[in-house]
Structure formats: C-alpha cells, structure tokens
Symmetry: C2
Subunit: 183 residues, 2 copies
C-alpha cells in the first residue's frame, strides 16, 4: 500500500461516534465523544480536539508472498456501507521488541503467534488499515483501523481476544481499544 | 537503534564541507557548499538553506540474528576523530520494491545481493547510520550517513561499486552521492 498519512482527531465532532473505550495496557487517553479521520498531516486541530494521532500507511513488514496473495484475495476494502462499526486500536510495543532482528520478530509474530493466520479466519468480515507512527515521533507505534458490520461484533471481539493471548502481545506495553459507530 | 530524527540542511554553512556530488540515478538536488546535521526535526532552516532532508533512525528491517550479532561486534561508532570523510547517500526505491512481501525483499536484499555481507567486509573502517524517511513524506526513502578516514576512500568507493552492481539496485530509482569533509 502506498504511503498515505492520516490524522485521527478525538474531540467534540467527527464522522465516528465513540461507543466504548477500553485501556488494555498502560496509560489512558482523555475521553472524547467523536473521532474525525482526516487525510493528511493535521498540524493543529480544532480547539475542541482533546487529542490528535497521526500515522502513515506503509509497506508490509512481516507478510510473506503466499500470505500476501491470500490477503489480497480475501480482504475487503475500507468504507463498505454495511460496516458501520469500527475499532481504533492504539498500540505501542516495547524496546525489547524493536531491538530484535527481523527473523526473530517474524518468528514470534507469525510462526508462534499466528497473527496473520488468525486475522485470515475473520476475512472477509473485517476491513483493516494499519498506520505506522514510530518515525513520526508519535506516542504509539501503530494505529490499527478496523471496520465491521454490527452483526460481526462478537466475532470481531473474538479476533482481538485471540490476538491478545499470543506471545506477540507480551511485547505490547500500551494498548487502547476505541470502538466507534458511524455517525 | 532507538528512534531519533535528524535533519540534514544543505546551504552556506555547516560542520561538513561538500567535496563532490554525483547524481547516480534520477533528478539532481541544488548544489550546496556545506551540510549541517541537526538532531531533531528542523521545520524551517536558515534562509541560506537550499534544501532540508529529514530521516529517523529505526529498527532493523532485514538483518537476521547472526548478522545483527556480527554487526554489533564489528561496526564502529559515528564520530571517530580520524573519520573526517563522509558520504550522504540519498536513495529512493521503486513502487515495485515496496509492493513486494517481506520474504521477497529479504531474498533480493541479502540472499541474492549480499547487502549485509558486502558491508561486513568493510568493517570496522566504515561507520554507518541509516535514516528512514518514507513515513515523513520526504522525497527520499533513506538517507544513509557513512563516515571513514581519508585513507579508506578507495575502499569505500569499492564498497559502493559492489552494492550498485547488485540486483537490489535495479529497484533504486533515485540516488545522489554527496561526499563531505569535516570542516
């Protein structure tokens, strides 16, 4: 996916209404009623903004060829009309994670935690766009944006439950799960 | 290596005097007599600045465990007093490179182009700090900063000659080689 920057602005207005927030690990964020997603790097948001987070779509860091082909064949696009529910998962991994060489991170990520394989079980219900933030000097490493239909809420919760039980998650030192409904 | 942003400012002043510039592939940059390296993200440089480029140090994208250990054992630090020569290599790779899955990029990078292995032959003469720029919306993907002693110039040229002859370099669509001397 080509590099494209997105700003997530939490505040009094937005296309997405916050329905629930759960701070899974680490420090919380100020509560907001809405999140607005803006293409590009928003330097200063509206006065009502409680927080702004930026991330860039980027190339794949762990996906191998067969996995890439399977994902391309099954993953739905962002913006399906029926996918009126969303999750914005904010995540930061530990220094120990980032200090590992590529092969060790891949082994934990997929061979032992089956991150890609678990995600594949939930396709084509869940659309996903991953934003990288580390090089932007942001407080999180990733902003994961996921969209699903209301009827798929339970299965989406199950997906997160499976991922959070993996070895990979031992390296997550901050995680906030923000659920939203299109407004 | 922890994330740290650096700004390279080309202009009328700086700690490094430009001795030679060679545009290897693609569009050139305006010629400048000096380059100043500043820690942090410089939003606006001095009026005399002809260009400013930013990049962030980051985690390893291709290095495997044995390679990481060998690099840690042999690579010298940045800033050795005797290393009064430097190269700032500005590089952008093609969309075809970035669209490949991780395993294909690794195979071309190391198993077929021996990028890490070639670099290892020139240790401990050459100190290296790689800056990633893609997520910062910069015109280049990487800024590679390399330092060496005057006596090692010929061997450093040989290193670049070897790398530029590899399959990996077929995916380089812009490259500028700026040589500098500490002023």
């Amino acid at each position: 996916m080509a590099r494209q920057i997105f700003s997530f602005v939490g505040g009094a207005t937005g296309q997405w209404r916050v329905s629930h927030v759960q701070t899974m690990i680490g420090e919380a964020l100020p509560a907001v009623p809405y999140v607005e997603i803006v293409e590009g790097n928003v330097e200063t948001g509206p006065e009502s903004a409680a927080w702004m987070l930026r991330g860039a779509t980027s190339y794949e860091r762990y996906v191998h060829k067969a996995e890439q082909q399977a994902l391309i064949a099954h993953q739905p696009p962002i913006g399906r009309p029926e996918a009126s529910c969303a999750a914005l998962i904010l995540m930061k991994k530990s220094d120990a994670w980032w200090a590992m060489p590529q092969d060790e991170r891949r082994t934990i990520f997929e061979e032992r935690s089956h991150h890609i394989q678990i995600g594949m079980h939930y396709l084509p219900s869940v659309a996903r766009r991953l934003h990288h933030c580390q090089e932007l000097g942001e407080p999180f490493d990733f902003l994961a944006w996921l969209e699903y239909a209301p009827n798929d809420t339970e299965s989406f919760d199950q997906l997160l439950h499976e991922l959070r039980a993996t070895e990979e998650w031992h390296y997550v030192e901050r995680e906030i799960d923000i659920r939203l409904v299109r407004s």
